[in-house]
């Protein structure tokens, strides 16, 4: 084909929009390959270890003509749930933007007719759905062997944890390539600060209240499991304050990250 073969027409540019809805299917595929498999394997193995330990306790109690109480089973599960709601959002969200930018994948992506804000907002949504699907799948398998079962409270608990942890990682991912590492330090510092200085006064209290009360996510776990602080089965009221604080903090970070995305360089250079 030569230049002369092209008809000399001048046209107005045609407004186009990226087919982000369709692209979500690819994003789900990426999540499955890069995140879901490793998360499923990791927590399936942990679940097996917990069940083996629980079975050993049940066998020991059975030898003494005793049964393991439901509270004990739920308390054992609380540890596994705490691990999942802390680690799985890390795996799901780590590098969400930073990896694309540092590897240069943003170059081709954002020459297309779409805003990075919409693209990554959708990416977060896909990761949330994928994380919930993985959590529910694991819970379905777990519930065949031991309580609790899957419920809306469980989904709410997981969702709150995703925003609490994932939002912080998202903000860090927009500003630095070391988002995962810094997020781990931040979450640990937050947990320690709240544990040590929650009742403190002055500067310590001020510093503590700047970071999220990550440890208070256990209040939502307690609401889901119906276990109070001393391990008794009761109808625990929904911990509105702590849920809104932890999830709201993460959600605010997420929104701030999306706003900052308009200000930061889309490439690493």
């Amino acid at each position: 084909m030569t230049a002369a073969a092209i008809p000399p027409t001048v046209t107005e540019p045609v407004r186009r929009r990226a087919r982000l809805g369709r692209y979500a299917l690819w994003q789900f595929g990426d999540f499955g390959v890069n995140v879901a498999i490793i998360t499923l394997i990791l927590f399936a193995l942990l679940g097996v270890m917990f069940l083996m330990n629980q079975d050993a306790q049940i066998a020991y109690l059975a030898s003494r003509k005793m049964k393991m109480p439901l509270e004990a089973k739920l308390q054992s599960f609380t540890m596994l749930l705490t691990m999942f709601t802390t680690v799985a959002p890390f795996i799901a969200m780590s590098g969400v933007f930073a990896t694309d930018r540092s590897n240069g994948y943003t170059r081709f992506l954002f020459s297309k007719p779409m805003s990075p804000v919409r693209f990554y907002a959708q990416s977060v949504l896909v990761r949330l759905i994928g994380y919930l699907a993985v959590g529910c799948a694991l819970m379905l398998v777990w519930s065949r062997y031991s309580p609790p079962g899957i419920s809306l409270r469980f989904v709410a608990d997981l969702t709150g944890a995703f925003f609490a942890i994932g939002g912080i990682i998202f903000l860090l991912s927009v500003v630095t390539r070391y988002d995962g590492l810094i997020a781990i330090v931040f979450v640990l510092v937050s947990a320690i600060a709240w544990d040590k200085w929650e009742q403190a006064t002055g500067l310590r209290r001020a510093v503590t209240y700047l970071v999220p009360p990550i440890g208070k996510m256990k209040a939502t776990h307690a609401w889901f499991l119906g276990l109070n602080d001393i391990g008794s089965l009761v109808d625990v009221p929904f911990p509105t304050k702590w849920f809104l604080w932890t999830s709201g903090y993460g959600l605010a970070c997420l929104v701030l990250g999306l706003v900052l995305m308009r200000k930061v360089s889309l490439t690493k250079s």
């Binding site: 084909m1 030569t2 230049a3 073969a5 092209i6 000399p8 027409t9 001048v10 046209t11 540019p13 045609v14 407004r15 186009r16 929009r17 990226a18 087919r19 982000l20 369709r22 692209y23 690819w26 390959v33 590897n103 240069g104 994948y105 943003t106 170059r107 081709f108 992506l109 954002f110 020459s111 297309k112 007719p113 779409m114 805003s115 360089s265 889309l266 490439t267 250079s269």
Partner: protein, 301 residues
């Protein structure tokens, strides 16, 4: 139309040191034009392209595409862009990568397969369509990068070192391809180190050095003979006459001579003289292309 208006970009480190990458750069690129951008390493070409894509913000001045800020334009219409480094996730398959980019480029889902097939055919990637990106050679990866830039009928094409890694056959095909893309309402912007390539396909070439626009060479209006140039002369026989006709000729190889800068008229007069004395000429060619000469002058300034 693309317009750079007194654009400057300075990179600042946390420690306060600043590095000016682009300084007071002004240039208009008209619709229908193929504009080349040439410059040595570190001249500011990549920064200019980053500014044009809206990936970077100017420290001063403005960049507009059809009167809009680059990101606003790109998010409405999209552009065709081939980056210097083709960066596509290595675990993606070639065909699937192009399908993804087609969806993001706004291609109707029903048309994605046909557009991808067309791009694969155009760039000769059929045998690689099922391969992982990480399995592709540099040249094939470059062709995938070019294919994703051509998936949509974009009005703005920005190609950064487009023939990097391509073999001679594909380099030639690329030139034909770019020339076939010329359209009255399309702007093609090509950054390249390959001056010969730019000379063959560009209407104008902007030469940048140390962040500043040094000159813009208009290749459409410039006549070949108007510029004095050095030549390489190769004779089949009559070597003994060369010094008599060309007293300033410098022997380079057996039967080959470098002729210092002279006009086309003077060269032709001397060649006639050499032939009349019995010299048999194998070839005579400019030692630098006209653009290369302009480039050398611009960089030496």
């Amino acid at each position: 139309m693309i317009e750079f208006k007194a654009v400057s970009k300075t990179y600042r480190s946390i420690l306060g040191t600043s590095v000016p990458a682009v300084v007071d750069f002004s240039l208009e690129i008209r619709d229908g034009e193929i504009l080349g951008l040439a410059g040595p390493n570190g001249a500011g070409k990549s920064t200019l392209i980053g500014l044009l894509l809206g990936y970077l913000s100017p420290s001063a001045g403005s960049v507009t595409i059809d009167g809009q800020l680059p990101r606003a334009y790109i998010e409405r219409y999209g552009i065709g862009y081939l980056s210097e480094l083709v960066t596509i996730p290595p675990a993606w398959h070639t065909e699937n990568a192009l399908k993804r980019y087609a969806l993001l480029a706004g291609v109707e889902p029903a048309e994605v397969q046909s557009r991808v097939d067309a791009a694969i055919g155009l760039l000769g990637l059929d045998e690689h369509r099922k391969k992982l990106i990480k399995q592709l050679s540099k040249g094939n990866l470059q062709r995938v990068g070019l294919a994703q830039a051509l998936l949509c009928d974009e009005r703005i094409l920005i190609l950064d070192e487009p023939t990097h890694g391509l073999d001679p056959m594909w380099t030639q095909r690329f030139r034909d391809l770019v020339l076939s893309l010329r359209r009255p309402d399309r702007v093609v912007f090509i950054a390249s180190h390959n001056l010969d390539e730019l000379q063959r396909i560009s209407d104008r070439v902007a030469i940048i050095d140390r962040g500043r626009l040094q000159r813009v060479v208009d290749l459409k209006t410039r006549t070949v003979g108007s510029q004095a140039a050095p030549y390489r002369l190769v004779v089949a026989s009559g070597v003994e006459h060369v010094r008599g006709v060309f007293p300033d000729a410098v022997p380079a190889e057996p039967n080959e001579f470098d002729l210092p800068e002279r006009s086309l008229e003077e060269l032709n007069r001397q060649l006639v003289e050499l032939i009349s004395r019995g010299g048999l000429i194998s070839s005579v060619a400019p030692m630098h292309t006209a653009l290369e000469q302009q480039f050398r002058e611009a960089i030496a300034q």
